[in-house]
Assembly symmetry: C2
Homo-oligomer: 204 residues x 2
DNA sequence: TAGATTGTTAATCGATTAACAATC
DNA sequence: TAGATTGTTAATCGATTAACAATC
């Protein structure tokens, strides 16, 4: 992939997609950028610019065909291509992610999970196996995942990251409150839940 | 609160804080903006600008006193002020959040949780009660929370949001993949886990 | 003193918004 | 046709970076 879209626009595409999918099909065959913008609290030109990246075209006077727009967003985001992901760290958050149904909307499936705690080895959560860390190479060979989720404590995150990168993982979603060092060729995004709540608290 | 800091700078403060706390105390009495910038992969002027918002001053030639900087960041982010938060939606993610230890670093505690499923009523998770939704008003009266976390399915998120806002909640962290409508006076941040992973997948 | 580092002012860069021609 | 809406070009706005004086 690697396309010519600003990351900040890319981040908004799932927001449009969620909104469009939430509309009932019958009454909303067409939708204008102005309507989307109003619903999401943003500027309408920005909406059109963002949507233009999906190369789905609107029609003057009419707007966009909602179904086409959804299809174009899903195509652009790769929702129709099945992608395997692995999870490292089967604590409370890891377990929740293994059971989470939202990934399927984007064609992503967590296929296997790893944890250093022997007590967790052999567990099956939401139909997925929890394996010991030294089974990771085998999992890579079987599933060829390009995506990984890190849900281990902060102290272990960097070494897990190094392992993932060495094994050929290309994208990492990191829940540990640590800035991971990884090569440029590996995409890393961080979600720091506690920091997010603290930021909200600082704003009010 | 409501201070004169761009939200994008505010978002970076926890990153600095995490990094500074991760350094061992003995060897790192002082740290320069250049060292912080190099470690986090950003520009050093940006680091100085961001840190200036905390009104902690560095010293030419020396840098910042690490302990002072940590204290200033914690002060600015309100980590030393205890804040109650409530959680709505005790599914897998909700449970994980109730057990999550990271909030305490920011002075935040989830004091009680609510779920519409009667089967969950009365459960105690990580020492916190799970209550039925109609006990929410009592919880507000007892704990006076200003923060709330929404971890319910997308279909229920807006009505939960309305309830929270009506009850006086001022900040909401929303995990449902829905753009919530709330008054300007209420700060809302969204975390869409699946979308984050999809974005990574689109980048690689 | 000399040199490293801060804090600030000016320049640049990128993202958003405004204006408007094209068009269905 | 008239009017609503798109898509694009130009203007604005805000954030980042570069330059540099202050200073310990």
């Amino acid at each position: 992939m690697t396309r010519d879209i600003p990351e900040i626009s890319l981040q908004r595409l799932p927001v449009y997609l969620n909104y469009l999918k939430s509309l009932s099909g019958e009454e909303n065959k067409f939708i204008s950028s102005g309507a989307i913008a109003a619903a999401l609290g943003m500027g309408e030109v920005l909406v059109r610019k963002d949507l233009a990246y999906t190369s789905s075209a609107g029609r003057p006077k009419v707007g966009y065909v909602r179904a086409e727009l959804i299809a174009a967003l899903e195509e652009y985001l790769g929702c129709n291509v099945k992608k395997n992901a692995v999870l490292v760290g089967v604590g409370g958050l890891g377990r929740a992610l293994m059971s989470y149904g939202g990934f399927v909307n984007y064609g992503i499936e967590i296929v296997e999970a790893y944890d250093s705690d022997p007590a967790k080895e052999g567990m099956v959560i939401a139909g997925k196996k929890v394996c010991s860390a030294d089974e990771f190479e085998r999992g890579m060979a079987v599933y060829s995942p390009r995506l990984a989720i890190i849900a281990v404590p902060a102290s272990a995150a960097q070494s897990v990251c190094d392992m993932l990168v060495a094994a050929g993982i290309k994208g990492i979603l990191n829940f540990a409150p640590v800035q991971l060092k990884a090569p440029e060729s590996v995409a890393v995004r961080n979600i720091d839940v506690a920091a997010n709540l603290a930021i909200i608290s600082s704003m009010i």
